[in-house]
Amino acid sequence: MSGMSSDIAIHAEDLTKFYGSRRGVEGLTLDVKAGEVLGFLGPNGAGKTTTIRLLLDFLRPTRGDATILGLDPRRDKAALHRQIGYLPGELAFPGREKAADLLRFFAAARGGVAWSQVTALADRLELDLTRPIRTMSKGNKQKVGLVQAFMHQPALLILDEPTSGLDPLMQQEFLAMVADARADGQTVFMSSHVLAEVQQAADRVAIIRDGRLAALERVESLGRRAIRTVEIHFDDPVDAAEFTGLPGVSDVMVSGPILRCTVDGRLSPLIKAVARHEVIDLLSAEPDLEETFLSYYYTQPDQHTQIEGAR
C-alpha cells in the first residue's frame, strides 16, 4: 500500500456523478483522515447516497476519482470491501432467512468472522437473531444492517443514515459503538440529516447541498461560529434602538422590559450595552449547532435572519 493510505482513509478528487443530465454530486474534493469520524450532512437529494455509492464502486464517476485506504475502488474492489463495513441507506435484505443465517453468510463471505463478534453486537443492540428478517420492525432491520457493517471490525465504516428507524436509546448505543470504533482506530464516514447525532460522535462535519460541498469544519469550530439566542429581563422597559446595530447582534425584539435577540460570535458587545441597565435575568441558549447547520442547509452562513423562518 502507498504511504497515503496510512493517514488518509478517503481521498476524493473532483468526484462527480451525473445521472443523465441530473446532478447527483459535482466536484467533490474531500479528504477523510484515517481514524477520524466524519459526519456527512445534507438535505434530501443533496448527493450523500450518490457519494457513498461512488466510494463503493456501485456507481462509476462521470468525472474525478476516489482513493480509499490507498486503493482504487474499482480495480481493488475485492481487497477493499474486505476492509469496509457498509450500511446502505435503503436497506433491503437478500433472501428470506433468519437474521443469524444471513449474518453467517456475511461472516463466511468475508473470510470468517468470529461468531462471538456477531452475538456481542446483537446483544449490545438488543437484537433477536433467531427471527426471520422480513418479520422484523424497521428499527430491528436497521440493527441487522448495523451488525453486518460492524461485525468484521473493518478499517473503514461507510454508513448511510445509520440511525434511521432507531429509537433514541438505540441511537445512543449506536453513537457509543461509533465512539468505540474510533477508539480502536477505525475510520467512520456517516451520512445524516441531523447534526445533533453526529455532533456527539464526529470529529468533523461535511455539509453537502445541491450536489456540492458547502462546508467542511471541525465540530468545535462549528460550535464557536454558532449563534445563540439571548433573552434578558430588565427592571424597566428598554428601547430596542440601544441594541440594534451592535456587532454580531440581530433579530432584536423588545417587549416592555424583555429583550430577545440573537448573537453571532462574542457576547461582550451586548453585555456591555446591557450593563447600563438593571438586569434581573439573563438566559442564553447553548450554541445551537442545529441552527448553524440549518443555515448551511438553506442560506449563506452569514444570513442568519432567515434561520428563524426556516425553523
Partner: protein
C-alpha cells in the same frame, strides 16, 4: 470449497429449485408411465391428425417408443418447462436483487464484480442443470420398466441436448439481466426468443424454401438431429454450448462496466 455466495444463492433459490424439480419429475413420470396405456390409442390419434400437424408438433410416429418419448417429453412441454425454470432462476442472479435492493448488501462482499457475476451464474447454472437432469434420470430408469426400447446412450444424448438448450436460454437471460438489471426485459426478450425460435424450427420444414430457418433456432441443434434415434451429435451440441458461453461471458463483462442500482 464452495464460495459462500454460491451456497447463499442455492439456499435462497431452494424453494424454486425443489418446486421445479418436483413438477418436472411428475410430468416426466406421468408421461413415461403412460406409455403402455397409450400405445393402443396412439395409432388412432396419428391417423386423426394431418401429417403437417404431426410434423409441426414434432411427432414423427407416436406408436414407437422413441416417437412417444420425443412427442411427450422432448418436443414441446418438456423443453418449455425447463426453459421457464431456467429463466426464472437466472432472473434471480442479478435482475431481481437489483430491483428489490438486496443487491446492495450482496455486492458489498469482498468480490470483484466479475467474480460476483460468475458465482451468481455458477449457482444458477448448477441448479438449472440439476433440474434439467431430472427427466434424464427418470426416463433412464422408467423406460425399461414400461418396455420402451430406447438405447440409454440415446437418452443421454437427447437429455444432454436439452441441458445445453436450457443453458443457451439461461445465457441469454443472464446477459439481459446483467445488462439492464431489470426483470421485465429478461422475461420479455428471453420468452419471445424461445417462442420465436421454437416456431422457426417447427415451421421450417413446412415452408417451401424455408428450410434454412431451422439453422437460426437453438431447438434445431437440440432435437433436429433426432438424437433419440441417432445418438450424439457433438457439432450441434457445441453450437448450443457456444451460445451459452458467449452470452455468459458477455453478461459478466457488461455487469463489470455499468452503474448498479440506478
Amino acid at each position: 470449497m464452495v464460495p459462500a455466495l454460491v451456497v447463499k444463492t442455492w439456499r435462497d433459490d431452494r424453494r424454486a429449485i425443489i418446486g421445479w424439480s418436483v413438477g418436472i419429475a411428475a410430468f416426466t413420470t406421468l408421461y413415461t408411465g403412460f406409455y403402455s396405456q397409450f400405445q393402443g390409442t396412439a395409432e388412432l390419434k396419428e391417423d386423426a391428425l394431418p401429417p403437417d400437424m404431426l410434423e409441426f408438433l414434432g411427432i414423427a410416429d407416436m406408436t414407437s417408443a422413441i416417437g412417444y418419448l420425443q412427442a411427450t417429453i422432448y418436443s414441446l412441454i418438456g423443453p418449455l418447462l425447463v426453459i421457464m425454470a431456467a429463466i426464472t432462476l437466472t432472473t434471480r442472479t442479478i435482475a431481481r436483487p437489483e430491483e428489490d435492493g438486496g443487491m446492495e448488501l450482496l455486492l458489498a462482499n469482498p468480490l470483484t464484480r466479475r467474480a460476483f457475476a460468475t458465482q451468481r451464474l455458477t449457482a444458477a447454472a448448477t441448479a438449472i442443470t440439476t433440474i434439467t437432469a431430472v427427466p434424464w434420470l427418470l426416463v433412464a430408469i422408467l423406460a425399461p420398466t414400461v418396455d420402451m426400447n430406447v438405447p440409454q446412450g440415446n437418452i443421454a444424448a437427447t437429455n444432454a441436448g436439452l441441458i445445453l438448450l436450457v443453458w443457451c436460454f439461461a445465457g441469454i437471460a443472464f446477459l439481459i439481466g446483467a445488462w439492464t438489471g431489470r426483470r421485465t426485459p429478461v422475461l420479455v426478450v428471453t420468452g419471445t426468443l424461445a417462442v420465436a425460435t421454437y416456431l422457426a424450427n417447427a415451421i421450417s420444414g413446412l415452408l417451401d424454401g424455408g428450410d434454412w430457418l431451422k439453422w437460426l433456432s437453438p431447438f434445431h441443434y437440440f432435437i433436429g438431429t433426432d438424437p433419440l434415434r441417432t445418438g450424439w451429435h457433438p457439432a450441434h451440441l457445441a453450437v448450443l454450448a457456444a451460445i451459452a458461453v458467449v452470452t455468459a461471458v458477455a453478461g459478466i463483462r457488461v455487469f463489470d462496466r455499468r452503474d448498479i442500482g440506478v
